[in-house]
Point group: C2
Chain length 481, copies 2
């Protein structure tokens, strides 16, 4: 049996938090003298009312019991319901609810695809709201990835259980303490990012909005030209630095703060991520410098910014890289699948899964040449738990099938192959921009049919919750006793 | 140490066989009174000379010793060298050696991509030669997949060892007997196919050429319009039947002949393949009938023919299916990855690998809901050997990475994303046609840059030899003692 009471209680708490967050855009719209503050205020009251009701109904003196099943159900439900409420003030702007839901999902999942155009002319309240959604979404993801997913053993995440000895069936009681540590580090990064942006020339408002969406590797901008609006090399380098920070495993940050600063340099995933990112940036820079004749400094910056933006699944663009020729387009397409590190705000397949797969492949080569040799799989200095390879493999299989299925679904709605394929891949990877005229870095998702927006919303949700968290709910066995 | 002597001896034998095969096109060109017979005759003499030389040099009274390393080396070397000689008479037509090598590789790997245009005006000798190459290639693949690959344990092929008790380090001595059985079945199918084609209206020459390339699931035609030239429903249904036969596991045919006819119906792979193929054909038929308004009979035939052609990796086209809209294009793109059954002439990932992966994924779902339950993986009525899942996973990872790498390489040569991606996917899967204006079902590979043709030749070779057979040679450890 699933215990619904603690689930509704937790959901109520989160709705109240969301409602409180809606007050901020209302305040800024009041300060600007913009009518739109009413939308935010009404939405806040409504959301707070529903959230409060849930808390009252589900409140109970017995200690909350969250088992595996409750964990799956709560995580998926939260994301769907919070998105539904977060979309209300966006719909209040005059958009259809489909568009608003898409935008809110893109925000909370830190994807960064947008259906809004003429961003520069919008009231500041809505721009702030989009940034806040991504900031909250980013925090939610890290907490989920560090506390919930290892406990649920989704897609090999058991590899990152903070306490290897703690293998009880209940979420560890230290969850609150960990959440605080994560939130502290996350907030500190955002503040540092905002300060740097301000220092190098952004307006305070732009600095706040971009600070929130950079560390969350999310990608909403306050300008139609995205990050290209600022035309500032120092700002781009600052952004690169904080996008990378956001894509690193927060578990390692916690370890570093707890007195093991070397953890950051010794971690296999961090090293693999930085080496991979560095190589791709260098290759792309060389391509831009030689084939497209850019001065090397400019080539290095443009390549590094856009490659980092896609690999960390942020999705800012400083340039329309679809104009960089087929080679660059091919690379950017593949990069949509990679993603950052586990327990970060980035999406995609993630580095550790690629590393585990590469371990398996290498051991198969050894096995081919010497069938009788036994190969021990070692990852990050520890022997790989026996269930991790299968979990990773199941994840990869479902990941690729999901992208394939969404591609065909979008194609059935009339999207051409490049658009359908890249839109599906970016949505499941929570990247933001796709490829082609419609969904590419200089395009906009507004022109897609309504059905496609719902499909992409589902794809973003699936990808964000590491697929299995959602898919497990679709199995009959889950609902049996 | 690798023993080169038996390798060269085997290679010599195969070159002499190839040389004998070259006599047939020479004969038909003589009969047609076409000058081109000289090309085939000279090529035959040259190939026979080199082959004979190798046999003489490498002949040895000691029994041949073929271990694992010799197996890998021989298999890869054979395919490269035989292609080099098979290309000579094609180059004699006035083509560049690049084009000739591409065409020969496409023939021997039963891919079916062509750089030749105006097929209908070519001398019949060359058309027959292309068909013979695919016929020989198909036989070579089945023998390799049934005798060599399970012994080499490539990509989970150990699942199909004919004798489960025979786990010695040497290729089983019953290889000759098995090869004869395979060749007998294969030849019987080709003869039956030719007879049916003739009966339903093909010229004897067309029937022979298409009989060879149908059962080999290869796809070279004698007409620019491919199978669409015949405009005959019965011929298309016959072709569908024999393409499916060619894509079924020959091991099961052998079992059926040895007194277990029910093996064909009970085999998990056969059932999975037929069910998958049937579902896709029905979906595509429904799409053509409803959205494109075709009469259902015509829709069923067109859909079944072209879907079967791609899934079995044959590559005939009866229609330009890229005109069927984005949904069909999306489906055809994904179908390029699937392939037929193991131990058949078809390419792609192959059904059993997808089935094993799906077993892993389902067991992960069970594991997620009940972490302590132990799940036994059962495939085709037997417990899955413990090394098979990892082999399959390593194969899938390398397969996708190879397609990705070839896509980027082709894109760097200036091919657009759809062309590069579909050309890479079809080449590694040995399908034949890709997507887009250049390499699509109504396009031609002639227009690609020379470098791209070499890259695609390498991709066809890699895919045909199940990747690992070639890649293992690129590892330093392989050459160490």
């Amino acid at each position: 049996m699933i215990h619904f009471r603690p689930i509704f209680f937790a959901l109520g708490l989160m709705l109240c938090t969301l409602a409180s967050a809606m007050v901020l855009p209302a305040v800024i719209d009041v300060a600007d003298g913009h009518e739109n503050w009413r939308v935010f205020f009404t939405s806040a009251v409504f959301t707070f009312f529903i959230g409060g009701l849930l808390i009252l109904v589900a409140n109970d003196d017995s200690p909350p019991r969250l088992g595996v099943k409750e964990g799956f159900f709560l995580t998926t439900l939260c994301w769907i319901v919070l998105t539904a409420f977060a979309a209300i003030p966006i719909a209040g702007l005059g958009l259809s609810y489909t568009d608003a839901y898409f935008e809110a999902m893109s925000g909370l999942t830190t994807t960064g695809s947008t259906v809004l155009t003429r961003l520069d002319d919008l009231p500041r309240g809505i721009l702030l709201w989009r940034a806040i959604l991504q900031g909250l979404g980013g925090l939610g993801i890290i907490v989920m990835a560090i506390i919930m997913l290892p406990f649920l053993r989704v897609g090999g995440m058991q590899l990152f259980q903070m306490e290897q000895s703690d293998r009880s069936e209940k979420v560890m009681p230290r969850a609150a303490e960990l959440t605080l540590a994560i939130a502290g580090i996350y907030l500190a990064m955002i503040v540092a990012c905002i300060a740097m942006y301000r220092l190098f020339g952004m307006t305070p408002f732009d600095a706040i909005c971009h600070g929130l969406t950079t560390v969350a590797t999310a990608g909403f901008s306050t300008h139609d030209e995205s990050f290209g609006f600022f035309k500032s090399a120092p700002l781009e380098w600052i952004c690169i630095f904080f996008m990378i920070l956001g894509a690193l495993p927060f578990v390692v940050f916690i370890k570093a703060i707890r007195g093991h600063p070397s953890a950051l340099l010794k971690d296999t995933q961090v090293r693999g991520f930085l080496m991979f990112l560095g190589s791709v940036c260098l290759i792309m820079s060389a391509w831009l410098a030689t084939v497209h004749g850019l001065p090397f400094g400019e080539a290095l910056r443009k390549a590094t910014f856009n490659v980092t933006s896609i690999v960390t699944t942020t999705g800012y663009a400083s340039d329309d890289y679809s104009q960089w020729g087929p080679f660059a387009v091919g690379i950017f397409f593949l990069l949509m699948f990679v993603g950052g590190c586990s327990g970060s705000t980035s999406g995609g397949i993630k580095i550790y899964r690629l590393q585990v797969t590469s371990l398996l492949t290498r051991s198969h080569f050894v096995h081919l040449m010497s069938p009788n040799r036994v190969v021990t799989l070692v990852y990050n200095g520890r022997r790989l738990p026996s269930d991790v390879p299968f979990s990773v493999v199941a994840f990869l299989a479902i990941y690729m099938s999901t992208v394939g299925l969404f591609t065909v679904t979008l194609a059935a709605m009339g999207l051409d192959l490049v658009t359908a394929l890249s839109a599906a891949a970016q949505a499941v990877g929570n990247v933001g921009p796709g490829l082609g005229d419609y969904v590419g870095p200089s395009g906009n998702y507004a022109s897609l049919p309504s059905a496609a927006k719902w499909v992409l919303s589902a794809a973003m949700l699936l990808g964000r919750l590491e697929l299995f968290t959602v898919l497990v709910l679709l199995r009959i066995e889950f609902w049996r006793n």
